[in-house]
């Protein structure tokens, strides 16, 4: 009996060793967002640290105190050096596993993105889940301009862009794990959202408040920044290239002066590629589901008219967007990736040697677009069928 007891006690003592590395939350600097800039051979890292109490702020009813964001700045010729240069003045241990967002400066995207990600990911603390952004603005202000109503900084578009995206799918948020496709895959194209500050929308006590918003996307392919696309230049990509589309409005002019606004709620694209001689011809077949949100004019546009106008406009957007992107040498619909996976031998031949990419782009042709619009409902008012 005694021996058994001793054995149980010994086993429990073994469990204690699990507390060896235990850290108390208040004695750790939790880095919640990172900003990385690269200028003239030197990395600058901005680490946003939140007061532990500020993270769970939304629980209390009124937040009178302003949310404080602390930003550490580190510099160095390598990422590790820059990270380390933050430590001496950090007072306590710094933890990087809770980074929820990473903002890359445009100059970094243009030069050293792949090298930077290699060192970040090797550090073992950073995960693949943070949201990633590019910006051409001052990074510290972006990391600071993040919370409304003095709420927890975690309730911001920077830290969780999904909520805004669900209400208005302007630019699809991207996580680090998927950015890696644009770095490592030989033919993939990835859109990394561009983030910026705006003081045009919110104000408090008549003073404008700067908050972040997404305003376009940088195109990353083969580790390189292929260029910037604003909202307008994503009009076709939204229906074809976005993985998840939640809601995006479409304003339609209908003959006889009527107009209607519909919300596209879902878009299922099917892109087919075929090779014809030296040409890469592709067709886009797309099924969208929409809801009518606004109708105006006399006579009021009918469901069939709206459907027709919507299909025509989406088709136009897809064609225009393709040509605009092609002119910038951007493979907006990821055709090269399909080519790479489906017709690997031909892809190899086409992209071989210098000027292979140019050759690929010049032989890319949008053959046909087929749009099928389904109007699910007309919201809380009725709509005439035809």
């Amino acid at each position: 009996m005694k021996r058994k007891f001793a054995l149980i006690a010994a086993c429990m003592a073994v469990l204690l060793s699990g507390c060896w590395d235990a850290k108390e939350p208040q004695s750790v600097n939790f880095v919640t967002a990172l900003g990385i800039d690269y200028v003239k051979g030197e990395y600058t890292i901005y680490a946003q640290v939140l007061a532990f109490g500020d993270i769970s702020k939304q629980e209390s009813s009124a937040n009178t105190e302003e949310t404080k964001v602390w930003i550490a700045t580190g510099k160095g010729e390598t990422i590790s050096k820059a990270l380390m240069s933050i430590y001496p003045a950090s007072q306590q241990m710094t933890l990087w596993t809770h980074v929820k967002a990473i903002v890359f400066s445009k100059s970094l995207l243009n030069s050293n993105l792949s090298e930077c990600l290699n060192s970040l990911l090797r550090s073992s603390e950073l995960r693949y889940t943070p949201w990633v952004y590019g910006t051409d603005q001052d990074i510290p202000s972006i990391l600071s301009g993040v919370s409304l109503l003095n709420q927890s900084a975690l309730n911001s578009e920077l830290m969780d862009p999904r909520e805004v995206y669900e209400q208005l799918s302007t630019i699809e948020p991207l996580r680090l794990i998927k950015l890696m496709n644009g770095i490592r895959e030989p033919a993939a194209t990835v859109l990394i959202p561009s983030i910026k500050l705006t003081d045009q929308v919110w104000s408090s006590k008549e003073k404008p408040i700067s908050l972040v918003r997404l305003d376009g996307a940088y195109v990353i392919s083969k580790s390189e920044n292929k260029g910037f696309l604003d909202d307008g230049l994503l009009s076709g990509a939204r229906w074809v290239a976005f993985k998840n589309m939640h809601r995006y409005p479409l304003l339609l002019k209908i003959k006889d002066g009527g107009q209607a606004q519909i919300n596209i709620l879902n878009s299922k694209p099917l892109v087919r590629v075929r090779l014809d001689g030296g040409e890469i011809k592709f067709t886009v077949k797309i099924k969208v589901t929409a809801a009518v949100s606004e109708v105006a004019g006399h006579p009021t546009p009918t469901s069939l008219q709206i459907k027709e106008a919507a299909a025509a406009q989406i088709k136009q957007q897809i064609t225009d967007n393709f040509h605009a992107a092609k002119a910038k040498k951007i493979d907006i619909y990821g055709i090269e990736d399909i080519l790479y996976r489906r017709f690997n031998k031909q892809w190899k031949k086409m992209t071989a040697g210098q000027g292979g990419q140019d050759h690929l782009f010049s032989s890319l042709q949008l053959e046909d677009t087929d749009v099928d619009v389904k109007l699910m409902h007309s919201s809380t008012y009725k709509l005439k069928y035809h």
Partner: protein
């Protein structure tokens, strides 16, 4: 005298094997496979079903003819000590190596990922102590422990596979054979390292209530292939083959991205349970086989040998090599060597069984 507890059933044996061998298929060989075959790694596994099926066939043949007897005993009866003693040495060395590498990989993984400040001697000693107790208590304790541990391991496995669906893009499994047949063919060696461990069943069999039937071997075979394909295709689809091939712990990386909703963003601690469950049973089983093969009847001597093994392995694990050397050693030498060794030993055993059966047949007529 205490009454002898009932011997483990076939189901318990399968569960023990799923933990013991599963960790190799599910974790240890994944980086080797991704490194050699990249995107075609999953195809390597499909291809390796052919040699694996042949090996399993041989093993069922051996199993049927030895009727659940322990292999060294059977060899001694049929061919004498000249054959059985070398077999014992090879088996003991093989299983000790198995325990050593499992311990090293685990301890290094804890150091690199979640316990960077805990001295390795502590983690190694604690883990070894648990394995030592399990091995000392015998095959029943391991079989029962597996019955308790495995269901949660499987459940967690399905959890991580499900929550990560949001990151999976199975288009990334294509194109097939981008760089010709060489990469997937090379990968077969590594896929087989894990799959061929089905061989362990021959060593567990003598302790079971009844010998295993062909059906059991087929079931284990399917499970092992599934266990390899799951994290492998997952890794390629979630990351991409290039990123995955750079990772030291691809299976664990899948845990690091697993989370759901706004408030549960990290659940990787569950992977510690999974990994440790597998590795504890693996090391315990290996220690047990490497001890029991010598048929030591005195309890004291048996325990002393076990203790010697445990201390020796812990010291080896802490002193011999760095993780960089370890990876190089495993991928360049140990994995291919293990594949070859199991293959050759199985072939020789099958031959021995065949000759012995033939002889008996002759003497009868």
């Amino acid at each position: 005298m205490r009454m002898n507890p009932p011997k483990p059933t076939a189901l318990q044996a399968i569960m023990t094997i799923m933990l013991t061998v599963g960790i190799t298929n599910h974790v240890f060989i994944i980086p080797a496979l991704l490194q050699t075959a990249k995107r075609d790694a999953w195809f390597s596994v499909i291809l390796s079903i052919v040699p694996f099926a042949l090996l399993t066939l041989l093993i069922t043949y051996i199993s049927a003819r030895t009727r659940g007897k322990s292999l060294p005993d059977w060899l001694e009866n049929s061919y004498g000590k000249m054959v059985s003693v070398p077999f014992k040495f090879i088996s003991a060395a093989y299983f000790l190596g198995t325990a050593w590498f499992a311990l090293f990989d685990t301890i290094m993984w804890t150091k690199v990922t979640f316990l960077p400040y805990t001295p390795m001697i502590i983690t190694a000693a604690v883990l070894m102590l648990i394995c030592l107790i399990a091995a000392q208590l015998g095959v029943n304790s391991m079989a029962y422990a597996s019955g308790v541990l495995l269901p949660f391991v499987v459940l967690l496995g399905f959890y991580v596979a499900t929550v990560n669906v949001q990151y999976k893009d199975y288009h990334q499994l294509l194109p097939l054979l981008e760089h010709g047949w060489a990469p997937p063919l090379k990968g077969i060696i590594y896929a087989c390292t894990g799959l061929f461990e089905i061989f362990f069943l021959l060593f567990l069999q003598p302790y079971l209530k009844a010998p295993l039937t062909n059906k059991h071997f087929v079931i284990v075979g399917f499970i092992l292939v599934g266990l390899t394909l799951g994290p492998l295709t997952g890794s390629i689809a979630e990351f991409n083959p290039h990123e995955a091939s750079l990772q030291r712990y691809p299976a664990y990386e899948q845990w690091r991205i697993a989370g759901f909703g706004k408030y549960v963003s990290q659940t990787d601690f569950f992977s510690i349970y999974q990994w440790l469950a597998g590795v504890t049973v693996r090391i315990a089983v290996a220690l047990f086989i490497a001890t029991d093969i010598w048929n030591i009847s005195k309890k004291r001597q048996r325990s002393a040998l076990l203790l010697l093994y445990a201390i020796g392995l812990t010291l080896l694990c802490l002193t011999t090599f760095t993780d960089i050397q370890f990876q190089h050693l495993m991928i360049r030498f140990m994995f291919p060597f293990n594949t070859g060794l199991i293959l050759i030993v199985t072939l020789l055993l099958a031959l021995a069984v065949f000759i012995s059966a033939h002889k008996k047949g002759e003497s009868r007529t």
